[in-house]
Symmetry: C2
Subunit: 496 residues, 2 copies
Amino acid sequence: ANEKRLQDKKFKSQAIQKRSAVRALQLMRFCSFEALLERFRQISDKGVLLFSGGPEMTRHDTDHEDLFRQESTFHYLFGVREPGYMGTLDLESGSATLFAPRLPAEYELWMGKIADVDTLQEHYGVDEVVYVDEIAAWFQRRAPTKVYIQRGRNSDSGSEVAPASFDGLSNYDVDEELLHPVVYETRARKNEEELRLLRYVNRISADAHIGMMRQARPGLMEYQLESTFAYSCHYNGGCRLLSYTPIAGSGPNSAVLHYGHAGAPNDRRLEDGDIVLCDMGCEYYCYASDITNSFPATGTFSKDQRLIFETVAAMQFAVLSSMKPGVAWVDMHELAYRVMCEKLTAAGLLVGDVDEMMAANVGGVLMPHGLGHFLGIDTHDVGGYPEGAQRDTRDGFKSLRCQRVLEPGFVLTVEPGVYFVDYSLRKAKEDPELSKFFNWDRIAEFENFGGIRLEDNVLVTDDGIENFTVAPRTVEEVEAVMRGEIADAAALMAWR
Amino acid sequence: ANEKRLQDKKFKSQAIQKRSAVRALQLMRFCSFEALLERFRQISDKGVLLFSGGPEMTRHDTDHEDLFRQESTFHYLFGVREPGYMGTLDLESGSATLFAPRLPAEYELWMGKIADVDTLQEHYGVDEVVYVDEIAAWFQRRAPTKVYIQRGRNSDSGSEVAPASFDGLSNYDVDEELLHPVVYETRARKNEEELRLLRYVNRISADAHIGMMRQARPGLMEYQLESTFAYSCHYNGGCRLLSYTPIAGSGPNSAVLHYGHAGAPNDRRLEDGDIVLCDMGCEYYCYASDITNSFPATGTFSKDQRLIFETVAAMQFAVLSSMKPGVAWVDMHELAYRVMCEKLTAAGLLVGDVDEMMAANVGGVLMPHGLGHFLGIDTHDVGGYPEGAQRDTRDGFKSLRCQRVLEPGFVLTVEPGVYFVDYSLRKAKEDPELSKFFNWDRIAEFENFGGIRLEDNVLVTDDGIENFTVAPRTVEEVEAVMRGEIADAAALMAWR
Ligand SMILES: [Mn+2]
Ligand SMILES: [Mn+2]
């Protein structure tokens, strides 16, 4: 599928950027309204769904205004770029109303021309725009029999949706329970317009990864990889925001799963012999990419680096080849573990029977994170744990952000890895049920190795997957990229 | 002073970055603890000052963790990079205690090695580190006669300091009033270590501005200037964060004072004949720079562009030449307006008597923002309105974030501008007291001109200022930079 898209045409970022501004907005609005209404009408077809956009924020106790990024569900439905909005969908008529803040005349001076309600209505493709300060009057006129608002928790972070509210809402019959799961179920299935955007950010991110890998060499600081990536995404793709804090872990840092945070800001210098793990993605129109590449700092794999890279590549290939509707995601996680155990047993790092290793969960020692997660407007997108889904308690499995059977329209990351982490290995060594499967002498040779992860972003189709990510996935591809022979994703496809 | 620093040595960013990691931390700790204690002891010399660091945050209702940036006062005192800390200073002994979160063993897997209390104590240069969950017990042992915590508002944004607290604090005699103004007064006067950092970020930002201006040309998107700037700061200077959302306003956008926000994300294409206004700065170790350059997209000034640029440069020069201890900041704002009125009268845009223009506040029409603000750990740094300071109500003056008489150690931006904004000009035209001073035919020729601002960052010294900012401040300098003859700040100094 990737090949076809590339043969069809050279990738036209400018064109996509232009059309996305207004047209994609209106298409999205249509697709997402329709999808949510259709699903919610199975519960009720009378009343109004009420949503609140994100508020403006200052950093701590300062005058520093954080760059506003819309709350994700509100973006999904309305695509509004500014803070302070609310919105409704009418279940009966299907009409959409935006409530915009009434801006003081002086706003023009500081922030630019003020759009009137007609301009906003046309721009956002809704049926009606009124001011937020008129919302109570609007509700009085409409007198909805029922108002549905969203209250619930994000299953990954536990953070809560801020329920929409206005002075006078309590005069209506308000339901806070039914909407939340329906929103998450709807967002879990991506529509065509969303898929376009996800393909776009994947291409921009892949090009940026490849460009960055060509620059990588011992002596660079990890943050120089980070800044090279971010620059490419913004300059070439118009992607102002990264979808998460970049991880550029070299040497031992490649095994710190969330390296790159404020306490470890990618500030180590790349050395000869390092593995470098770069987990980076940008977002466009609030749609995320989340790609990981791993490569030797020198551009040439050592024997052990090749072994681990090829193990991880085999894990990823096995999963990508097996994904299709009806397959349980937890089984894919298990499959990745099985391939890991087989490969590392063949290589002499593990010893014993693979079925017994699987029963003892050896995989959880060397890959202590989940195989992948939903991806969309959030990097860790919603819907991974529908009502009633249980979290597994085994290492690795317990970190899965998705506990579902695959369906067409799901978009997930596939990100197996193998890491040599003191913490996990210490624990395994102390546990006789696990310890016996490890060849500790051989494992000791990986003490400062770090880890390798490969991460692609894929769509579940009717009979398999479409892989959005074009990135070096063999030793030969990585080495060719780092020799400078492959300039971008299109060149990599051609090289293949 | 700038010249001397540059003659002394080539700028050694690597060296500064290395030493800053631990040594600057400890020097800062010493300087800022001492300064705060000295000032607070004039009020009381018994008891404990208690501070709270910033918390971890997720974006809205998602699993997206914002990159943590420490609360500014806590950074000033303790320099801690991670969330979840608290800290105390003992007024009697002067000893400093940090309270660190107790991290679960699994933290090592996700975030990296866990530092024990001894390592943290040495790293942060405090007298003692204990865990946050032991803070109540620590207070019981110390039994302070008084606990001072900070409660108050930021005078620019009105956002509130989150007062430090723990279970059991109410058992002590707590004062919430005295500490806040003392913290702000202390932070208003920069110590030597802070000045080093402010010089450093200014140099990195100036180099990035100059590099970006060399690339600028019609056809580029505004965000390509933004990304070029950010890349240079991070790649060359290790400055991961920008100190505020970059403004890259071209053509009419150059007169939108806070252009570049989420609703106007620097997404216009530069055209022939445009003025481009770039207000951008990075931060290092949480210290901010805030520099503005304005230039023609083509690299060559038109006659009118030259006129406005030279007017603004003259306003800036007059202020920089007059600043010294004892001078009221509001008088500098007025001086900028006076120079503007003189120049634009000479050029025929304004007509009449300059004293009368000043009385009618013509300046507030063409430069409707404040002349400058304190700069430090926050871009709009604290202390601009000490207790009792009154906000002026006239246009322009009312936007001043600083209402003080200058003292040695103050660091301010000096950022005069001239803008042709529909909103302001419409208002002026309708007001007979203002309208009579404008040559409306001539003003009409500036309809899509936008505006020009020049912004430097300066320290008030014992007898004048030290200007941290090396940026093109004449038409000739701008044109030479844009012809590619000047590569960075050092080259600009040499060119001069
Ligand atoms: Mn991921
Ligand atoms: Mn400023």
